[in-house]
Symmetry: C2
Subunit: 243 residues, 2 copies
DNA sequence: TACAGGAGATGGGACGTCCAATGTCCAGAG
DNA sequence: CTCTGGACATTGGACGTCCCATCTCCTGTA
């Protein structure tokens, strides 16, 4: 990590800078005009005229903003300031992860590490803030997961829901979104590579263990069991990557 | 491959799905052809022909992939699989943060929460893995920060560098990138709102405190001081947002 | 050998044209 | 009067063409 300065030709990114500038101008325009989530943007033609660039160019920027979750584009209707949406990251990160799996799956593993750090780092606060209602929600999710496991259905959705609800007490939408992103990336990578044999009951049991620890408000135990959960995921990933 | 299911997509998001599909096709193409970081993609014209869509359309997708950090586009030369790059998230997150700051600054605060959770949750592992060399790097950064503070220069860069190096031992690039993103977003939001009076010496001192705890390998103390650091940031943000 | 500059390739961008999806609104049926 | 269906305007989606801007590489000259 000694290399502090990556060699960069000065003009090498001029084009990127220009197009990034256009995106920024559009965002500034939204902010300056006081538009809020759900409000409509000017039409493509208007923007094109207002910004003094061709419609194609403005469209490229708009597509980027859409991909970044800044705006929502609805064919035949208009463009609107988008509600919080991090699905953008999923594509990029998934690509990254899959690309890395060609080598040793390092990046995919890093992703799990970050997820683990976030979750086991925050479980304590989540337990502190957890109400009976939150706990009931969590239990409901677990029961659904168990039922799905018994029927041999995939647990993916229930798994995601469990983690979402586990941290709902923190009332931190950014966190939920981030964890969702990580989770989706993991799932997509796993899907793309074809999952090995999965033990649904085992999966459900691990989650029940976590739930029990949370119910008992035993932070240390919950944290440790989360760690175990992620260790399992890591192992699965390593197995897939080594093929 | 190219599935013939060109059936009607009556969904409200058919357009989004179509354009997302194109992006995915390009990424699949990269993965299938075994391209690695730095390798060149086909030219825009080739892609346009190969994918059976117009050049403008393919360009829109390519711009998105560029924004997502998947590819790097160099004017007059070609397009290449990009090295890890998270600058994309910065735009989206910054916009989000500024949008929310107009109201209550919730999301900016959430961002701090996530950062705090990540950092104070991972400081333990970082300390475990920290070598003498890492520590020396950290100290160098601190000395630079102190010098800057003495000269009345802004500490922003040194601050970022400190946090980067603090977690370098984990050898997790994704984590470093994420923290960088958060830091940049925070800084941009702060800039956009105009920062209040800052006490440079105080800022440097807080970081020295953290450094001392790390040097002593006192995980609990380091974690606590990190918490204090973020509490300070949170306070500053609240102050700015309330004006 | 070194440097300047041209050639060729490639992305950047602008229009213009037409297609497709969506919401609105009005006419006509009941 | 109410409801329904279709015409219509609006707006984004896509494509083709043309030309410009920029880069790398190679050639030729000093």
């Amino acid at each position: 990590m000694a290399l502090a300065s990556r060699e960069v030709s000065p003009a090498r990114f001029s084009a990127q800078i220009r197009s990034h500038a256009l995106q920024t101008r559009i965002m500034e325009l939204i902010l300056e005009q006081g538009l809020d989530v759900g409000d409509a943007l000017p039409t493509e033609s208007d923007l094109s005229a207002e910004l003094g660039v061709g419609r194609n160019t403005v469209r490229e920027s708009l597509k980027v903003l859409q991909a970044l979750g800044v705006i929502e584009i609805r064919h035949g209707f208009g463009m609107f300031v988008a509600p919080n949406n991090f699905s953008a990251l999923v594509s990029g990160l998934t690509f990254r992860g899959r690309l890395s799996l060609r080598h040793k799956g390092e990046e995919a593993m890093e992703l799990i590490d970050v997820r683990q750090a976030l979750e086991s780092g925050l479980i304590g606060s989540a337990i502190d803030l957890m109400t009976a209602e939150h706990l009931a929600d969590l239990r409901t999710t677990m029961e659904a997961m168990e039922a799905a496991a018994a029927k041999g259905e995939p647990l993916a959705e229930h798994d995601a829901e469990f983690h979402r609800r586990l941290y709902a007490p923190l009332n931190n939408e950014l966190l939920i979104n981030l964890m969702d992103v990580f989770w989706q990336v993991y799932r997509q990578i796993h899907e793309a590579l074809g999952s090995g044999p999965v033990n649904l009951e085992e999966q459900a049991r691990v989650h029940w263990d976590i739930y029990d620890a949370v119910e008992k408000k035993d932070k240390a135990l919950a944290s440790e069991r989360l760690q175990r959960h992620f260790d399992g995921i890591r192992l699965k990933l390593k197995d897939v990557a080594s093929r």
